[in-house]
């Protein structure tokens, strides 16, 4: 008997997804490896960047040849944009290249933390929403800023678990729980996951989904790690739905204390 929901889907901007793992397409050794890892992850949505075409090699293979936008929902990002104007320009180009209006907004502060710049993020979110975009927004685990972004009309709130690409895991479980409680739109942990257990922890907290890239791309064996992430997200989701046992101080024996032989 299986008491878990038969169809445990989530939706954003009117699109319905079964997989709760969203993966990036950056940092892989090759486009072949990108395609294999993404297939193994079971992801249905992938983040992509928008960059200048290399004019000296116009026939070079392109991401779309390996990761079919008809199969995967492309989520263009604003990586590298430091102002609202740059973000709007970049995503207008993305919309023209792909015809989508679902986008990932990220406006980052300087290294070494690349922490979300919430002032600039709020400004860019407002401009993008005014321009007709549906904005999934990378943000700090700041409940005040996250609420403002939600009130502006962002379609998903995506706080970090740790700095981008750090692989430090979920460093802010309490803050993420607060955000999960207050947020009415999907909430994804975006950044910080380093290995499968981190993804499971995010899902056990009650996140809608997990977004990650480096944890797969920089693993020793990306395709195997992609599968591990798929299973971890599923396991974490099921554990959340199943509702974990209460924590208690001290032991509680699993075997009866009666009927012992004398």
């Amino acid at each position: 008997m299986d008491s878990a929901p038969v169809t445990d889907t989530w939706s954003v901007a009117g699109r319905v997804f079964t997989s709760r793992l969203v993966v990036g397409t950056g940092k892989y050794k090759s486009l072949e490896e990108t395609a294999a890892a993404i297939a193994a992850s079971g992801a249905e949505m992938v983040t992509v960047a928008v960059r200048r075409v290399n004019l000296s090699d116009p026939g070079a293979p392109m991401l779309q040849d390996f990761v079919d936008p008809k199969i995967y929902t492309y989520l263009p990002n604003t990586a590298g944009c430091h102002t609202a104007k740059d973000a709007v320009r970049t995503l207008r180009l993305a919309r023209e290249a792909g015809g989508w209006n679902l986008v990932k907004l990220e406006v980052l502060g300087p290294p070494p933390h690349l922490y979300p710049d919430m002032m600039a993020t709020l400004e860019a979110a407002e401009a993008l929403i005014r321009d007709g975009f549906e904005v999934m927004v990378y943000c700090a685990d700041d409940p005040v800023a996250a609420k403002r972004l939600e009130d502006l009309g962002c379609v998903a709130i995506m706080p970090l678990g740790a700095p981008i690409g750090s692989g430090l895991g979920i460093q802010n479980a309490a803050m993420l729980s607060l955000l999960i409680d207050q947020t009415k739109v999907p909430l994804l942990v975006d950044a910080g996951v380093g290995t499968a257990s981190d993804a499971a922890i995010a899902m056990e907290l009650g996140c809608t989904a997990v977004l990650l890239n480096s944890a797969i791309a920089h693993a020793g064996d990306p395709v195997t790690m992609a599968r591990a992430m798929k299973l971890a997200v599923e396991a974490g989701r099921l554990a959340f739905l199943a509702k974990r046992m209460p924590r208690r101080m001290g032991a509680d024996p699993s075997s009866p204390l009666t009927g012992l032989i004398r």
Binding site: G24, R51, Q64, N213
Partner: protein
């Protein structure tokens, strides 16, 4: 028109004949379905490639999707 100098992805380029966006993309050898074009910070819709004439001083950005997180 005479010679025109435009900038494409930050590189100067000289046009000797009247050229449309479609003509330029064909000259470079790009798959029109996989790129997007901005001219002087305004999107050029794919439907307008064939009728958009390039002028001296135009700045173009031609982009596509690449791997990213």
């Amino acid at each position: 028109m005479g010679e025109a100098t435009i900038t494409v992805n930050g590189q100067a380029r000289t046009l000797h004949d009247a050229t449309t966006v479609a003509g330029l993309l064909a000259t470079i050898g790009l798959d029109l379905r996989k790129v997007a074009v901005e001219r002087n910070e305004e999107i050029v819709p794919k439907s307008a490639y064939a009728i958009t004439m390039l002028a001296d001083g135009d700045a173009l950005e031609i982009v596509h999707f690449i791997g990213g997180g």
